[in-house]
């Protein structure tokens, strides 16, 4: 890969499956390579680890939850910048479709399963309950049930009456056969979440690189929106070990598509929230909202100017959306064989 500039993206997940199309498609289709960059996309566990790797200089970009971006700036004085906003808070409460819980009010006295007690959704849940006139400390009980089988079993066995999880996890529950009804606060989707981020010094040192990488992300978003199933096929081909196993091909494809759709829903919501024009656009308003929410929830002690979170390149989102959208959509429709 002589001559290519090395770029590493640390992703806050253990499982780099097809739900990160803006990061994986440019690799699968060689776009970044054409632009002169050898990009590695590395699953490193969770947002904190991704941030650590980036701050330690082991990655130029990190895919983070918005709360981590805010905390890093406010609490830890780390100048993290939101290069792109790839999603909104897509958490929801899920209850059995034919169960007794129909509205938020029915949650009183119930037990809610969460991934862990240190998870982002809880702050939203608390404000949601408070808005519904409940005391989140006494009216519901939270139990940490992790991921995988335990939450499913817990809901099935009525050990919990609701599950508080993010969208792709909820998609997984449904794939496992749960018939679910979703409850979420009306405001939840007005907060940005998934953030493709970098450090201020990276932007200053190599704005062209940041722009090029982000352009790939934006173009990939265009592509996947046009043909989710092509993303699935490309991803499966490029990262065969991430494809699900344990059922017949059609079912597996459907499961993964369900998963991807959950993510695309969140991406769409972010797109709409941020003006509906430019893929990946991040706005000081949106990050200001989440910052305010976090301060009110006691997650941070002070606020900073929301503009601080932004990338300081003029017309950045216009620049990164400067690609042939029609051609990209056509490519997606044709779905290049690999």
């Amino acid at each position: 890969q002589g001559g290519l500039k090395r770029v590493r993206i640390a992703v806050g997940t253990t499982n780099l499956n097809l739900a990160y199309p803006w990061l994986t498609l440019p690799v699968a289709l060689g776009w970044w390579q054409e632009a002169g960059y050898a990009v590695e996309v590395l699953p490193v566990g969770a947002s904190l680890q991704a941030l650590q790797q980036m701050v330690a200089g082991n990655a130029e970009f990190a895919q983070l939850n918005s709360s981590v971006v805010i905390q890093a700036n406010v609490q830890n004085n780390i100048p993290v910048r939101a290069v792109m906003n790839n999603g909104v808070i897509d958490w929801s409460l899920s209850v059995l479709e034919d169960g007794p819980v129909k509205t938020v009010a029915d949650l009183k006295g119930k037990t809610i399963g969460v991934f862990s007690l240190a998870t982002g959704g809880i702050a939203f849940l608390r404000s949601y309950l408070r808005a519904a006139g409940m005391n989140p400390d006494s009216d519901v009980r939270l139990v940490p049930v992790g991921l995988g089988a335990p939450p499913i079993e817990a809901l099935r066995n009525n050990r919990v009456q609701a599950l508080l999880y993010w969208a792709s996890a909820q998609a997984g529950f449904q794939n496992a056969g749960l018939k679910l009804r979703h409850l979420r606060g009306e405001d939840w989707q007005s907060y940005p979440d998934f953030t493709f981020s970098t450090l201020q010094k990276t932007i200053e040192a190599d704005p062209a690189m940041v722009e090029a990488i982000a352009r790939g992300c934006a173009r990939a978003t265009e592509f996947v929106m046009a043909s989710p199933d092509c993303q699935r096929r490309l991803h499966w081909a490029r990262w065969p070990s991430t494809r699900p196993t344990g059922a017949d091909e059609a079912t597996l494809a459907q499961w993964d598509l369900n998963n991807l759709e959950a993510q695309l829903g969140s991406m769409h919501a972010a797109h709409a929230m941020n003006g509906g024009q430019l893929w990946g656009r991040a706005t000081p308003e949106a990050y200001g909202r989440i910052q305010t929410f976090m301060q009110e929830a006691g997650l941070i002690q002070r606020s900073i100017d929301p503009a601080t979170y932004m990338v300081s390149i003029p017309d950045f989102y216009t620049k990164i959306n400067n690609f042939d959208a029609a051609a990209t959509r056509a490519l997606a429709a044709a779905c290049p064989a690999t």
């Binding site: 904190l48 941030l51 650590q52 701050v55 330690a56 981590v68 905390q71 890093a72 609490q75 830890n76 780390i78 862990s116 007690l117 240190a118 998870t119 982002g120 139990v143 940490p144 049930v145 992790g146 991921l147 995988g148 089988a149 335990p150 079993e153 997650l299």
Partner: protein
Amino acid sequence: MTIPRGRLELLLSILLFVVFVLGWEAACVLLEVPAIVVPAPSAVAVAMYAGLASGELVTHFWVTFAEVLLGFVFGAGAGFVLGVLVGLFPLMERTVYPYIVAFQTLPKVAIAPIIVIWFGYGMESKVVITATIAFFPVLANTIVGLRAIPREQVELMVAFTASRWQVFRMARLPQALPYVFVGLDVAIVLSVIGAIVGEFVGSQAGLGYLILQRNFNLDMAGVFAILIILSLMGIGLHLAVNAVQRRVVFWMASSTDRVMGA
């Protein structure tokens, strides 16, 4: 040497500690290790003080400590008993032991969800996870220790019509104790890890829970304060095991080192 040995050791130990802390602080400053990765010891000290003063660290300490102790007792106990059974019935070694090894190689993190489903979200599941980790070193050491008896001692016991069980209790077992105690030492240290891993999987209290909590808040100094408490817990338990060992295996004490010139 005019300094008595105990003093020298203490001095060296303290010196080492000071060097370590200063080196750490220096590394943080000079190598510009980001605080989000490794916080400076001064920051950790502040976090430690805050945690202790508020009592937060103390309450969670006791939860984890209880899990560690209970898990250790059950795990080490089971390991010892099974080791004894294998020692008494050699047939078990070839038949059952491979299954134990098989079970032992299962990553606890992978089977933790099953344990959580069976034992609930409370302390029980953490104790069980801890026990499964503490178990194996004790088992392996017990088995080999029980085999380490010199042939003459077995002959002696048998000549006086000792039953298999008596040979075990009066000769094999005391002979195995030095081994068993190494197993316990390894097990107690693994128990601390076990309890934390258990709490990572899902918990409502304990130092592992607090680590998750502080991780979520990007409070690395706070996390390191907990890690230091865990280390102290490990050292304390290790010293306790050693103290018991010295009392129980009294006949092995020291004498060896007094050969002149050795």
